[in-house]
Structure formats: C-alpha cells, structure tokens
Amino acid sequence: MQKRYMAIWFRHLLTDGLALRRPALKEVPFVLTTPVKNRVVITASSPLAEQQGAFTGMAVADARAAVPELVAVDDTPGKAAKLLRLLGLWCIRYTPIVAVDLPDGLVLDISGCAHLWDDERGYLKEIVLKLRKAGFDARAAIADTPGAAWAVSRFATVSPIVPVGGQIQVLSGLPPVALRLDAEILERLKKLGFRTIGPLLMMPSPTLRRRFGNELLVRLDQALGRIDEVLTPLTPPMPYVERLPCLEPIRTAPGIEIAIEKLLSALCLRLQAEGKGLRKAVLKCIRVDGRTVQAGIGTNRGSHSVSHLQKLFGLQIARIEPALGIELFVLEASKVEDMETVQEQIWAVDRGLADTALAELLDRVAGKVGAETIQRYLPAEHYWPERSVKIATSLSEEPSTVWPEQMRPIRLLSRPEPIEVMALVPDNPPKTFTYNNKRHVIMKADGPERIGREWWLDSGEHRDYYAVEDSEGQRYWVFRSGHYDGSDARWYLHGYFA
C-alpha cells in the first residue's frame, strides 16, 4: 500500500499555547524569555510581537527598544513537548499513528485514512481548520515521506499536497534547510552556492558523502523515500478500568463476589505486568433501575494481590444494595502507584513496619472500622504536651526528631480536668487535691516542671507540672495554670502515671 504522511507545523506553538491559557495576552505583543549568559533572550514570540519586530533569539532589552509595550513571560523548559503530546493525542482521532516531531511539529502516518474525508484535500483542510479554530497557527502538508511532508509544510509556497511520487519535483525547488540538516552543513552548502536542493540531487553520492558526511545523504534518502524513517507513535494512557456486563441481573452476595473476583483478576494482571500497585479503587454497580451504587477501598501500600483486594471488597459487599439486580460492574483504579517488587523469602524475617502482612491487616481494619481510627505517632518538636506528638502520614514515615526523655504519664486526659488543691506554701507541691469529690492525700511529689505556652501558636498561661503520688500509691500528673497569686490559682489533673 502506498504510504502517505502528513506533517503539521505549529508556527507559534508556545505563544499560542500560553495565549489559550491567558486570554489577556492575545491583545498584546508578548514573548517567552529565558536567561542565557547574563542576557535574557527571547525563545518564542507571538505573531503580534513578530509583526512589530521582536524575533526569536533577540535579547529582550533590544526587543523592548523596538516594541516598548512588549510583555515578557518566563519560559518553562519542556513545555513544547507537553503541548505537542496533547495535540498529538487529539490527532489520534484522524489516524492511529501520530508521532511528536520536536521542537514544533507533528508527523502523522495517514496511509488509508484520508478517504474517510473524501480525499486528502478535505482531510488536510479538516485538521488545519480545527487546529486554527482552537487557536493554533498550524500549517500542514501531505507527501509520500515524512521528510518531504516536513519540507513542504514549512517551506513550500504552492499546494500543500505532494502527489504520489512527486517529491523530487517539489523538493528540488526548496532550499537545503528543508532537509532538516545541521547548521554546520547548511553553512557549508551556502558557501558552495547550493541555494536549492535541485543541484544536490544531480551530484553523485560519493562526492556528497566526502564533502558533507553521511548525514546529508541519509536526509536526502529519507525525504525521497529511498530509506524508511521510523516514527515513534504516541500511546494514549489507558485508564485502569475493567467492565463486566452481566447477561442476567446479579442480585446475590456470592454473585457480586464472583464479579469482583473476575474484575480484580483482570485488573491485577495488568497492574502486575506494569509493576504498579493499586492504592484506591472504586467499584461502580449499575443497577437495572438505572441507579448506581458505589463501594470504594483504599490500601496503605500499593497492592496487586487479588486475594487481598478481594478481602477488602468482601468487607464492603454488605453495603452494596442490588435492589432488582446489577447489570454492569465497573471497577476503576483511581489511584495507582509504582511498586517495588520484593523477593519472596523462604525464612521469616522481621521486617518491622515494612511488612506486607501488616499493611494488609491495616487495610482490612480500615475497610471495616474506618481509616481514621488507625494512628501512628511521631515526635514533634514541642514541649507543650498536647502538641508533642504528631500523626504519621504513612507507614514508612520515620521520626524526624528523638522522643523526649522526661517522665510522661502513660494516660493523658484529652482535656485537663479541674481539681481543688491545697498547698502549704505558694509554689510548693500540693498537699491534697480533690477530684470527682474524692480527696487524695499526697505523700510524695516531684516538680515543678514549667512548660511555657508557645505564644506564637496560641495565647494563655504557662503550666507548672507536678508528678504526685497519693497515699494509695496512684501517681498523677497535675499542673497549675499560670502564676500562683493567691486568688486565682487554677489547678488541673492532666494524666496518670503507670
């Protein structure tokens, strides 16, 4: 079959892309800039700026002299590749094989596609008009080879469609720069007086190779179709979704279970092949009555184990109401992460918090009683007791500081409880205290340990903590809020020691 290729050139790719995101820029001349050796250089300029004389490669200061109202925006590296990828993915509707051609173009393999839009002219018009309507200044050309299409899209002034076998004729009238050559070779060609490609085609190839190296010959052959050029097609990201339509509506728990198992085994096979692990998944059950019921699971660590994930879903089955029956199951992995494969061990080794069995246990617990009930604490750099621990965000998080070594009660009341206290002398440890109508006689006491209020976080009094032991041997942590001043000494019980 005759191969046909289409090259699309975005003349102002970066500026068009930016103008789409910031419509205000459409009205003013603007350029993208990047600093190069103490100068700020223009990397792309908008059509309006180009009209007024600000071109790519100029220093911004020079351009400002020509265009006083020029707006300069910092360039983000890699933006072109991202934009082209998105445009390429959009183009997949016209042909399955789309390749990104950096820095500013796309190459489409359109063999056998154009007839769906009547002919190549209609096909080209459709794509170019759609792109222009979207805001991209696009030019396109169709030829037998990617090289010829590239050349015609950028440099030809005549018809953009090169007829089959017509590339020699078209190319001979174009300048050598249309061959995608290095600047050095172009310079040499210019010095020798080659203003068009035509004379090059007349030269014997050994002479060309001796003078300009192999690259020129390769480019010529690629443009003329003597050797094939390899395109790297874009692959659209496949969402991690599995569907299971049912012939008859499913109404029973075992039925749902089987459906989940089928969906999971298909999904996990793919996850395993790609080295990914599932973190969050949603099962959507579409019922006969048109309603959708959902059940979601989450894991602490990426997993592609069917049995484990099925156990997690198993805890949710009771919450799925089948009503008249479910006719379609859709399993969607909304969060997936890379997984490092761990080698199976024959002997048991304590792997601490990194253990898979532990992560699976916590997943099950989270599925049954809620993830908010599970907590792991890390030390925080605060002396204030309520703030001295923070909740770890993941199982692998390590403490950033050491645990404090002071004596702390093993049970801390979430809110300090007021107590009535009698002390012999101000600033002495208390002699007795009354809590919940029970009087405790204090035999031994340690303290005070003053903990200052963190004024940059909240306002209030400091606390003077005492560890006290009553006559029954029970040990308490009590504190006085603020200074002792006779009238307003507020005492609180804050915890129990072991």
Partner: protein, 240 residues
Amino acid sequence: MAATKRELIDRLQKNILQWEGYKPPVAGTRSLAGLGLVEAAFPNGVFPVAAVHELVCGSTKQAAAGCGLVTGILSALLKQDGVCVWIGRARRLFAPALAVFGVSPHKVIFISLTKDKDALWVMEEALKCTGLTAVVCEVCELDFKQSRRLQLAVEQSRVTGFILRNATKKLGSTACTARWRVKPLPSADLDGLPGLGFMRWQVELLKVRNGQTGSWVLEWKDGCFNRVEEVLILEERQVG
C-alpha cells in the same frame, strides 16, 4: 510408687496442653519478657510468648498501672524491630510515655475503637497477622468463646496478645494462658531524697496454665523490672 504416679500425671498434663494447642517454651530458652524471677512461675520457667495474657485492673485509674506493666514487657518483646498494635478506647494512651519504658512509640500502631465487638474483631485479625510481634487490646468484657477464638489465632501466628480489662464486676473463666492483676503501690524513698521513687506495682498472677500462681512487688528501674522483697516493704512501713 508415689513418684511414678506424680511423673505420670505430669506427663498427662503436658499431653493435654499440647492437644489444646498450647506449646510451652522449652526449658532454658532465652527469656524474652525481662520479668526476671517472676518467670519462674511459668511452665519451664520461661514467659510464654505466642499466648494471650489477660491483665485485670481495679479501676480506670489503676488501668494506667496495667498499661505500664504491658509496656515494660513489650519493651523486651519489641527489641528486634518488632511492631505492636495497640487497640484502645478513644486515644487515651500518651505515646511519649512509651519511650520511658524503652519502647519506640513510632513502632506502635494505635487503633482507637469504642465498641468491644469491633475491638475484638480487630484483635483477632491482628493476632492472625504474622508481621506483628504483639497485640494489646483494651476491652471491658471478654467471654470464654471470644478468648478461645483469640487463643486459636495465636496458635497459628505465634503473636503475643495482651488483653487489658478494668472495672469488671465478675471475672468469668477465659481460655487465656495467664491472668494477671496489677495494682499501683507507693514508691520507695530514694536514699532519703524527696520526690517520687521508681514506679512500683503489686503484680498478682491469678491464673496460669500449668504454672504456679503468685504475687510479687515489681519496680521499673534502669529499663527493666526488678522484684522487691516483701520484707523490705514491711520494714519500710514500720519505719514510716
């Protein structure tokens, strides 16, 4: 003849224990719990890991003493990078205090639940998990059937379980290997220095399978349990 009868009964008792799925540790095994002389009460003189222990405290206030004892035992069990799950009610345990007993608090995963039913479900699941070293669970009630389930889980996974119960009206029989009662005691003077001494508890072993029950006074001192002789306490009382 009497000696042979004694031997026969001993052997039968051991057999029964094994049929019940309870494997006493081999004599002379390195002690894991750091309980010192108290361990002589257990079969073969070794603290049984891979078993469920039940700790009973008198009241909510005294529950702190139970937590202290468990944490002390955990510090020895978790020495080799072990992980512990602590199932409690509404976040009452203060993590930095575990560091006092030599346990790294970030190696403990807290699960706070209010219902006994949920807590026991999580406890059973956790006891089945081989990646853990120990599981601690605070519940109000535990009947024989539930404790039997826990015991069965432990037999497979070799995890050590601790049940903390407090303020229970009556203590029914359970399938736990040991039942302890812990009560805080006044601490001793430190050579005439003012202030609190080392934490001290009255630890009673009310029930133990194939072992000797007993009562001891323990102190947490220099990162391990120390047994305090009764005589000393009596002397102190008289002096005081």
